[in-house]
């Protein structure tokens, strides 16, 4: 055992400031073969912010080294599971052997709510071509066509989409050709995704493939303009644990109407009509910022970054939306909503803060939550001393200003970048240049995201694509009061005696977004870090060794 570990064996929670993060980094890398260690060292950074707001360069969005147990999924998972999964009225067919489809069948907690029971909802179904030996040898296109036909015969859906898994790409089945043929034949929209799992380095590639596909094949198909005053799209909100419902509730109270959410609780028609909104608000920058860009270029919709995680963050985001529209009636209504909602948030926050103040958390999830949830922890006085994303890119750490510097490697090159041009018929400038300039002059930020690192403490440890092995090392070295990650890490963390909160699926809790969500989250964290369960971890004979050796009467 190295010295670092010895030094830290006695670390008590909260005593983390005595640890040298550079030493910890070394410790994390010590077991890897030299070449691997060199690679990993670009993805483990001690945070340093300079005067200009620059933060360390993160080696993000690079391929995980074989043999490292990553938490990342594949591009198929990102495409079918994350982005298209929450859309209830498109029939999704997985083209491949059975596993890929089976494992993505209702495994995310995205919720949906149909207006009535008569509305289509195919989410409980998992269609798979269930490829067999002969399909691999002779090709599976025939079977795929039959599957599309069959899905159509049973459901008569508006749209059917096809998802390619790894073997499909190799045997050369052309899912796009099958899609266009069936589209022609059936007279409904049928489109395919080349989201083979080996494309890109993580599910992020799949998000991109999915969003591109929706943009190409669905957006702009319905030009009818919805009667409403303030129309926005909510991009990068997946309605895990009902987050989207809570956000919708608040926006509704404010008189702001959501044309389409990408893609929590979404429908085909919403996507088709989403180019009629007047503002795009981006929650998860990673999974969808490019869609916001494309919509701006093609249809003239400006976009802003917002965050509905945290009471204050929610208030701030609402004000930002109101400021964009700039109408007094809206501004006042938003203020009224905030005034009505915040007292309860504050009451719980202050009560919980007393018990949580000074405790430390670590967050390793996703492409935006590792950042967003720090707001919630801040609100109850907890520090996030180490964090990282599973599948984010450099801009999600360092801010959008580094985008021009990002190197495109082989893995990114195989993800299609759409060439988008202004649509002369449908483009509509939402604001005049003067209006935009006036807003900017007031400090209003369009299409900006400054990334996570700048919001974290100096000396915080940033770790991209943290492995299972590193996770366990980190727990041992830091002993944080709370660790946030996903189900794959969950049980190793709890076995180490450290409270754990899942921030992918929320441990079947939620919502955590918006005002009610903040209250839920404060209470949940209070329960976790102050729970008595952990006291039972050690049996009496462990804490009190003489007990086992002696009897009372001795």
């Amino acid at each position: 055992m190295s010295d670092t570990i010895k030094d830290t064996k006695t670390i008590k929670p909260g005593g983390v400031d005595t640890l040298d993060p550079e030493k910890i980094k070394k410790e994390l890398l010590s077991r890897y073969p030299a070449k691997v260690a060199r690679k990993r060292s670009n993805q483990i950074m001690v945070n340093k912010k300079d005067d200009t707001g620059k933060t360390p360069v993160m080696g993000a969005n690079v391929r995980t080294v074989p043999g490292i147990i990553t938490q990342r999924g594949c591009s198929y998972a990102g495409c079918k599971g994350v982005i298209l999964g929450p859309t209830r009225d498109i029939v999704n067919i997985t083209h491949g052997p059975i596993g890929c489809g089976f494992y993505s069948w209702l495994t995310r907690r995205n919720q949906t709510r149909t207006a009535s029971d008569a509305d289509d909802n195919y989410m409980p179904y998992c269609f798979s071509t269930d490829m067999q030996d002969e399909d691999i040898v002779f090709g599976g296109e025939k079977k795929l066509k039959a599957a599309v036909q069959e899905a159509y015969d049973i459901f008569k859906p508006k749209a059917i989409s096809i998802f390619s898994t790894c073997p499909v790409g190799l045997i050369g089945d052309d899912v796009h050709a099958v899609a266009s043929e069936m589209k022609e034949k059936l007279g409904i929209n049928v489109f395919g995704f080349s989201c083979e799992g080996y494309k890109g380095v993580s599910q992020s590639a799949g998000h991109h493939i999915a969003n591109n596909g929706i943009f190409k094949n669905v957006v702009g198909k319905d030009d009818s303009i919805k009667e409403a005053d303030y129309k926005i799209n909510l991009l990068g909100e997946y309605n895990i644990g009902g987050d989207g419902f809570e956000i919708d509730r608040i926006l509704d109270d404010c008189g702001i109407s959501v044309v389409s959410t990408y893609s929590g609780n979404s429908t085909y028609d919403q996507f088709a009509n989403s180019h009629t909104a007047d503002l795009n608000t981006v929650m998860c920058h990673r999974s969808i910022n490019y869609v916001a860009d494309m919509m701006e270029i093609k249809y003239g919709i400006p976009w802003i970054k917002i965050n509905f995680i945290g009471g204050n963050s929610t208030a701030k985001s609402l004000r930002k939306i109101a400021e964009y529209f700039g109408e007094e009636a809206l501004i006042q209504r938003v203020e009224a909503v905030i005034e009505a909602e915040m007292p309860e948030v504050e009451r719980v926050r202050l009560a919980v803060k007393k018990r949580c103040e000074g405790k430390v958390a670590m967050i390793f999830v996703g492409g935006s939550r590792a950042h967003h949830y720090q707001d919630l922890f801040n609100e109850i006085g907890m520090r996030t001393i180490s964090a990282g994303y599973e599948f984010a890119h450099r801009d999600d750490y360092e801010g959008r200003r580094v985008i021009p510097d990002i190197k495109i490697d082989a893995d990114s090159r195989n993800i299609e970048e759409l060439k988008i041009e202004k649509d002369d018929d449908k483009y509509r400038a939402r604001k005049t240049d003067a209006e935009i300039a006036a807003l900017k002059a007031k400090g209003f930020e369009f299409k900006d995201y400054k990334g996570m690192s700048i919001d974290m403490e100096n000396d915080a440890l940033l770790i991209d694509d943290i492995s299972q092995y590193e996770t366990e090392q980190l727990l041992k070295l830091y002993k944080p009061d709370l660790y946030c990650a996903g189900i794959k890490e969950k049980y190793a963390i709890q076995k180490s005696g450290i409270p754990m909160k899942q921030l992918h699926s929320y441990d079947s809790g939620g919502p955590y977004a918006g005002f009610k969500g903040a209250v839920n989250f404060y209470k949940e964290i209070d329960r976790l870090v102050n729970s008595k369960v952990w006291d039972y971890l050690e049996a009496p004979w462990q804490t009190n060794p003489e007990l086992s050796a002696k009897y009372g009467w001795e």
């Binding site: 998992c126 790894c166 190799l170 799992g197 080996y198 190793a492 076995k495 180490s496």
Partner: protein, 490 residues
């Protein structure tokens, strides 16, 4: 009369599958071997999905590495990736064994894994490398499970290990139980331990006793046994006092290496036995072939009849009479069958899951008077029908619809007309039970919408007792909840 065969129109897509993919079974086996890390050769998504799936059932850490294909690897082959992955896993975890299973991707491109592994053994010595081929486009997770057990036994017991009978001084049994729950494995261990510790009453005046001394007799017969795999500890362990890179538990590799010195092997699964008869290999058949170790193939011992058979074989193999404890368990069970008969008799059940498991559960249901009106599985070994014919009495068999290669959507379409009273199987049948508006009794794998799936006991008299009680109580609760009058007396 033959069981009814349902005629449905030819179908193509699988909707809501009742099976998982092959490497999942292999990964589970590797978790049942001490100090072993599974490594899937293919893209990382498969490993991540399977970890996630196993974790949601076991609620325990499950580590599965991947050789992490990129697009280039997919085109040019995965040799370098696999070698690097092995080295990397070896450095991080210093495992005793790395269990390598292929995915559809590496199988499709046709990677020659044994060739890639050539020379790697030495490089990571003393870590043992085991390879099992697990394309998912043939077979299900069960095939991956049996395949991995076979591969491990084969790798650890090369032909050169031929032992002379002289070494086989003690009775020693290899047990290959198949894909059972943690609690099942624990119960098996208890049974085998009891059988090896039995103190047979001795006649102190017998010539043998006088000649050999009383003590050697009083010690009992001391049969040794090795169960493979055994994930009952690693996938259900206590909190860690010390950090554990690989959780404790699992069949020790040295015991697997000694399997060629056993006096008998026992293997559960009547479908498995049929495939072996057809020339497929299993761990038990391999040991029989290579080392002349007799193989006892049995159905999974669920229910009285199957358990009776199991104990009979045990008595033979260990030359030890069944311990009193199990006789009592059996007695209580039969008594309960009698008491509860009025609640279960002629009730109708839909049974689904992996084929061998379906056969075992159907056999149990039939013996308590429940008719398994639909026996369905995503697997299609070709032997489900035959296995059910062998286990079910004629009068019941006549009322049974057998359906291999079935998915949940078609199960739902078929089940309605059969008027079932409840469904029995894993969590994936919840929607089915909800739509049919009848209760679901959860057994098997995966169980992710309840806690304690791994603690469900299915086998032995005790397992039958628990299953019986659960089923009766489920039916009673149903009656009670839906009864307008007299709900206080059930």
């Amino acid at each position: 009369m033959m069981p009814k065969k349902i005629k449905t129109k030819p179908y193509t897509a699988t909707r809501n599958a009742c099976k998982m993919c092959t490497p999942l079974g292999a990964a589970l086996v590797f978790h049942g071997i001490e100090g072993t890390i599974p490594l899937l050769h293919g893209s990382q998504g498969c490993s991540t999905y399977m970890r996630r799936y196993l974790i949601s059932h076991f609620r325990e850490p499950v580590d599965i590495a991947s050789s992490n294909f990129s697009e280039d690897t997919a085109i040019f082959g995965g040799g370098d990736n696999l070698r690097l992955a092995i080295e990397n896993v070896a450095r991080q975890y210093t495992p005793e064994m790395i269990g390598i299973a292929t995915t559809c991707l590496s199988e499709t491109i046709g990677d020659d894994v044994p060739m890639i592994l050539d020379g790697m053994d030495k490089k990571v010595d003393p870590t043992i490398l085991v390879h099992v081929s697990t394309p998912s486009y043939t077979g299900t997770h069960v095939d991956g499970f049996h395949g991995a057990v076979h591969a491990v036994v084969e790798r650890c017991n090369p032909v050169t290990e031929k032992t002379t009978d002289a070494l086989k001084t003690r009775k020693k049994i290899n047990v290959f139980p198949g894909m059972l729950s943690n609690e099942d494995i624990r119960h098996l261990k208890e049974i085998f331990t009891d059988f090896s510790d039995v103190r047979t009453p001795i006649d102190t005046q017998s010539p043998d006793a006088i000649k050999n001394g009383i003590d050697s007799y009083a010690m009992g017969n001391n049969t040794e046994f090795t169960i493979l795999p055994d994930y009952s500890e690693r996938l259900e362990g206590p909190s860690w006092e010390d950090y554990q890179a690989i959780q404790k538990g699992g069949t020790p590799v040295r015991e697997i290496k000694a399997m060629n010195r056993a006096t008998a092997s026992m293997e559960f699964g009547s479908i498995l036995a049929s495939t072996v008869d057809q020339g497929e290999k299993s761990a038990g058949s391999l040991l029989k072939e290579r080392f002349d170790i007799p193989l006892a193939s049995l159905g999974i011992p669920v229910g009285v009849k199957a358990t009776d058979l199991f104990f009979e074989r045990l008595e033979e193999l260990t030359a030890t009479p069944i311990p009193e404890k199990y006789k009592k368990q059996r007695g209580r069970l039969i008594d309960a069958y009698v008491d509860g008969n009025k609640y279960v008799s002629r009730q109708r059940a839909v049974v689904y899951g992996e084929e061998d498991f379906v056969v075992a559960i159907a056999g149990f249901l039939a013996e308590v008077g429940i008719i398994p009106v639909l026996c369905a599985s995503g697997g299609k070994s070709g032997f489900l029908q035959k296995a059910l014919e062998e286990i079910l009495p004629k009068n019941i068999l006549e009322q049974v619809t057998v359906h291999p290669g079935m998915d949940f959507t078609r199960m739902e379409q078929t089940a309605g007309a059969l008027e079932p009273d409840f469904v029995i199987g894993n969590s994936k049948g919840y929607t089915l039970s909800r739509h049919l508006n009848i209760p679901l009794v959860r057994v098997g794998f995966p169980i992710h919408d309840r806690i304690g799936g791994p603690r469900i006991l299915h086998i032995g008299y005790k397992g039958a007792q628990e299953l019986f009680d659960t089923i009766v109580n489920t039916l009673l609760q149903r009656r009670q909840d839906t009864s307008k009058t007299g709900y206080a007396y059930m």
